[in-house]
Amino acid sequence: MRKWLLFFLLMMSVTGLSGCWSKKELSELAIISAMGIDKNEEGKYVKTVQFVNPGNVSGGLQGGGGGQGPAVTVYTAEGDTVFEAHINSSAKVSRQLYHPHANLVVIGEELARTEGVNVLLDVFERNAEVRSTTKLIISRDMKAGDMMKMLTAIDHIPAEKVNNTLKITEKMRGENVVVSLQDFIKWSTAPGIEPILSGFRVEGNLAEANKQESVMQMDPAANLEANGIAVFKDEKLIDWYEGQTARGVVWILDRVKQAEIDLEWEGKKDAVVYQVMRQNTTIKADTKKDIPEITIHVRAEGAIREVTKPVKLDDPNIIAEIERAAEKEIKQQLQKTVERTQKNQSDIFGFGQAIYRQNAKKWKGLQENWNETYFPQVKVNIEVEAFVRRTGLRTNDHLSELEKKQSKGGE
């Protein structure tokens, strides 16, 4: 009996003592929703941390006082290393900094251009608290810190807004990519591929954007929007791709889910709108020649969404013609992207990787100076197969009826 008591007391004291070590009450945590990194004039890192104010997010429970203040609070601190800046920022917060819910890391464009991104990431990757699925973006034309101070309307937490926007735009428009910390590091370290990131910018009046009133308006003074893809070379940001060029990149990386393509029809520009609903892109390398050849094969399926000119959509031959036109258009767009990238000398498509996986021996010869010497010279064949599967609820458009009526009226 005494032995048991002793054992029990021992266990109690061991567990009781340890109670304080890793325990952290939810109400004692400063839940970080996003982090931003810049560099100031003195060459120090500036870290901006955005915390959630839980009471203001969920609409308040007791006393009806919730929902008054902003949903997030932003603190800024600087230091010689990212970690130091981070520690310094904790001096301003009464609670323990808590990372696992941080879904977003924003990096200032200036910093990305001068120093690159990789050097900043080790501190995040090493920390078990930081999720490897945390998303990375570049704040375009502005400091990351300023972007962190933005408030957003529908999503109370700006980081959520950014993540959701990214996800939706990647899916609907294919002009952005969702890149996580882990993806970025994977792309940077893997042979024969260079990383890309999505950019965000603020539309409207930046000065008004950090005020609560801005969000209260029906037409907010400023808005965060996804804009462009940042292309890196030697770990530094060198170029921004926008619109169709950006979509070309996403397309070649086989991450496009939906895309909308305007086709020229009978001389009229943008007469037929073809929406890709499903597509599959493969990159194949032909390593027989000295400088390998790359074949990009696209297979797209989609539907007609809009016509601005009478088109006989009940005629299979016409549909076939539209398909040819779509193929041509897609091919052209991709071609443009490839050309521009080859000029940039940064293999963001992973052509090198395709070669490496195809023929590792060959790749060893090409590995050095791949981006500068070989990548720009690679011959890229683009093969596109496009299919129109359906045309929506109507076959022929009412425009042709209108035309008929008008021409009758003219008689």
Binding site: V14, T15, S18, T133, Q182, K186, R357, N359
Partner: protein, 373 residues
């Protein structure tokens, strides 16, 4: 000998939990790069041979424990020395696994908690198990095996549903030929985890059906080998070889990558659950085997009494083997030649030869004797 019996199925379960125990934590056979899975499969074949060897040895002495037959084969004093060395080997491995788990938990979930405390409660639970005896451990294994396999199967399912698998990460195949693969298989993976089954020689006499036990054991080695190969293949295809080789706990990184329906994510606990279950069994089995062997060696009638002191030894050992995790890991890889190779391959093989010769001589003597009659 404890008066206990376990079934062949229980042996199967224990071996699988034992082999997967700490092997799921680490980047296994990572020197073979993309072909890590192949290296694991090759060493599984080696593992099967080793298991056959250990079991053959047991078949020569079906009703005696290894402590007794080693003494019988080598003589009292040399035999005792070898047995004692084996006991130290078991204690060391138990301590190593304990350290692995402690480090994992401290790194992943309990950064502020001292390693010593984490290890203490783990070894306390293991000591409780050891006191309960092999039957209870085996039954517990059966129940937790269901949970363990559920976790594994669902994790594989989630990984494949999440769409994060990119099989092309496994290419190019045989970048440096087959040599590094075979080399990794026979210098690392064969000894960890497959060769560690040598400790089960102490468990074999408890199994109630030797024929079934052999089948179950071979199947267990095969199943765990295939599972590990599959695990390493999915790690590589999700994370890419660069990340896997830099990760301390690649499976954790893989599981962290899972995001399904925007809701099933952050599954670290999943990983923790599976690994603690596996680790618990590996630690307690080594622990139990060491306690049993010591009891037989020193003729202690109540082996239960040894549980707490030996537990303390393992605990202290786990804290003292290395001053940091990198040292611990390097030690693990470098020590294979000095500890694993003799204990897992050389000694058993020599013992086997000795036993075979003795057995044959005895048989001949028996046959001669009959002839003379």
């Amino acid at each position: 000998m404890e008066n206990a019996k376990i079934s062949a199925y229980q042996l199967f379960v224990l071996i699988v939990l034992f082999e997967l125990g700490s092997a799921i934590l680490v980047p296994l056979a990572i020197d073979a790069k993309q072909e890590a899975w192949l290296a694991i499969l090759i060493s599984t074949l080696g593992g099967l041979c080793l298991f056959w060897l250990y079991f053959r040895l047991y078949e020569y002495y079906p009703d005696r424990s290894p402590v007794e037959y080693i003494q019988a084969l080598l003589g009292k004093i040399p035999g005792s020395i070898i047995v004692f060395a084996y006991i130290l080997f078991c204690l060391y491995l138990s301590a190593r696994v304990l350290r692995d788990f402690g480090e994992m938990l401290v790194t992943v979930a309990y950064p502020e908690t001292p390693l010593f405390i984490i290890n203490t409660i783990m070894i306390a639970a293991a000591a409780y198990a050891v006191r309960k005896g092999i039957e209870t451990i085996a039954r517990t294994g059966e129940l937790l095996f269901v949970l363990f396999s559920f976790l594994f199967i669902s994790a594989f399912f989630l990984i494949s549903v999440a769409g994060i698998i990119d099989v092309s990460n496994l290419r190019p195949a045989f970048e440096n030929g087959l040599t590094p693969v075979v080399k990794t298989a026979f210098t690392q993976t064969l000894y960890f985890p497959f060769g560690e089954v040598v400790a089960f020689a102490m468990i074999f006499p408890y199994v109630n059906n030797a024929k079934e036990a052999k089948k179950a054991g071979l199947l267990a080695v095969l199943v765990s080998g295939v599972t590990l190969a599959l695990m390493m293949a999915s790690n590589t295809s999700v994370l890419g070889i660069e990340l896997v080789s830099r990760s301390l706990f690649p499976l954790l990184s893989t599981i962290q990558t899972i995001e399904v329906f925007d809701f099933i994510e952050r599954l670290d606990v999943y990983f923790m659950l599976a690994s603690v279950i596996g680790g618990f069994f590996k630690i307690s089995l080594f622990f139990y085997i060491a306690v049993r062997a010591l009891a037989i060696l020193f003729n202690e009638q109540q082996p239960i009494r040894l549980a707490y002191p030996i537990g303390m030894v393992i605990l202290v050992l786990s804290m003292m083997t290395a001053s940091n995790f990198s040292e611990h890991l390097t030690e693990g890889i470098k020590s294979t030649l000095f500890t694993h190779l003799p204990f897992q391959v050389v000694f058993p093989f020599l013992l086997f030869l000795l036993a075979a010769v003795k057995h044959r001589r005895k048989k001949q003597a028996g046959a001669d004797g009959r002839d003379s009659l």
